[in-house]
Symmetry: C2
Subunit: 257 residues, 2 copies
DNA sequence: TAAACCTGTTCCCGAGAGGGGAACCGATGA
DNA sequence: TCATCGGTTCCCCTCTCGGGAACAGGTTTA
């Protein structure tokens, strides 16, 4: 099975998409009713109605007030996802210990659909609050996590991902071309860790180290903080040391999988 | 909109159910392929195939190794669910502070589909490990959380739930009839908190207090521990005091919603 | 080396699923 | 009392989508 990034067409099922559109809407707004959903999604009331019935029967949705909300079954699903996505206990532990060491923000992310998805996060006392949430995704070229992962992916997979990239500049420093990215990836492969120098969010710098298991890249772990505290010296010194150590701990504890 | 407990028929959509069956299977086992799913669910390979395509396109599933797994998008959904399900921050806080006080296990649960669903959980140092997981459900009649909630639900809603109950004895002490339950609910309504005296798990006792907002019951909060440490005296003394206090804190912080 | 066998994938067909429109009903409120 | 707005039901007609079968690629077996 080849690594899949671009969207292959093939047959696709309409009603399932409708169902997930409903879920998507319900994710953000509670207490939405049939009529409102019908308008928002451009379907007839009867269609939405039978979908809601179905989702209610599967116990994914719950009626509440005058509308629906997602049921706690989602939380159970989330637990399973975490359990299956590598060695969650260890990862969470290391992310937290990074925070204890530094007082900043730490993340662990994996590649999904050509982007980095955050698997866990911890924030320290003095941490700058970023909008990152567990489960959300960011471009790989503008984050230290993404670049760290990308740099160690097998060539074919790396290329497949880069090919689908559209370089959107989130700050003046964001990498904006394939060539620039490849050059950066070479540098990362050499030094063993990746930086993000205000490339994703103005004023925010990060260091990330890849977590590997043999030839496979499982993900990456990072620390982020304000440029004022994240000087070049610290980035290339204690901070990179910290993430490398954390990555190593995870690797050692994952040898079995 | 009346409180819904029994399953009303109405039109229901087949393909959506199939899709969620797939997800259900994938929740427990990773690396399942088309053929295996087809056999397990009793559908043709082509059917499963197009479903997988669809779920992959919506980015709910990810190919990994030679099979599929659920994507981290589920984690994002879970975050939203928590955010919407009442004042999660405060609840989690109180659950944790109960654990700090007692060193045992604390839960917060809400009613869903006539059962109690755990919204959060914290375990202390000396806690007995129970199988309870966030997002999973338990019968209301055999748990302190369930009984606490039930006792304070409006009569119509209470009755609707009780009507659908099938009393399964999980231990010799489990409540096993409607009459017994109603008697117990009266007692609870009087004393303000609910007990579970080895009714759900042998050797485990729990105290729970309802969390209310005006006339509405938002859920309940509980402490659980081994019968050896949870004497009658402590249950009706410090432990019930603790859960009542915790419930009260949550109530005060939820006045706005 | 070929044959048997296992995947995942594609193609096509026909039944019935499901999307939509319109009528209906119950609650709210003017 | 009537108008309005929500959810629900009913029915029809189309086109979706489930299934069977053939195909393709990789791996094991003889």
């Amino acid at each position: 099975m080849p690594p899949q990034t671009g969207n292959r067409p093939g047959r696709t099922i309409r009603s399932v998409k409708i169902a997930f559109n409903i879920i998507e809407v319900l994710k953000d707004q509670n207490d939405v009713g049939v009529t409102e959903l019908a308008n928002e999604l451009g379907h007839s009331k009867s269609t939405i109605h039978s979908h809601l019935r179905t989702l209610e029967e599967i116990e994914i949705l719950v009626r509440e007030g005058d509308g629906y909300r997602l049921s706690l079954q989602i939380l159970d699903m989330a637990n399973h996802v975490r359990d299956h996505a590598g060695n969650y206990e260890v990862v969470q532990n290391e992310v937290e210990s990074l925070v204890e060491e530094t007082g900043e923000i730490a993340h662990f992310g994996i590649e999904e659909y050509g982007q980095v998805a955050y698997l866990c996060k911890a924030t320290g006392e003095q941490a700058v609050e970023t909008a990152s949430r567990v489960g959300t995704r960011q471009p790989m070229y503008s984050t230290s996590l993404g670049k760290a992962i990308l740099a160690y992916l097998p060539d074919s997979h790396q290329e497949a991902i880069v090919d689908t990239m559209e370089f959107v500049s989130k700050t003046p420093k964001t990498i904006s071309s394939r060539e620039e990215l490849y050059a950066e990836l070479d540098r990362i492969a050499e030094q063993g860790y990746a930086l993000d120098d205000e490339e994703n969010i103005e004023g925010l710098r990060c260091v990330a180290a890849p977590v590997r298991n043999g030839p496979k890249v499982l993900g990456a772990i990072s620390i982020s903080g304000p440029s004022s505290r994240f000087t070049d010296e610290r980035l290339h010194g204690e901070l990179s040391d910290s993430v490398l150590r954390a990555a190593n701990v995870i690797e050692l504890n994952t040898k079995f999988s």
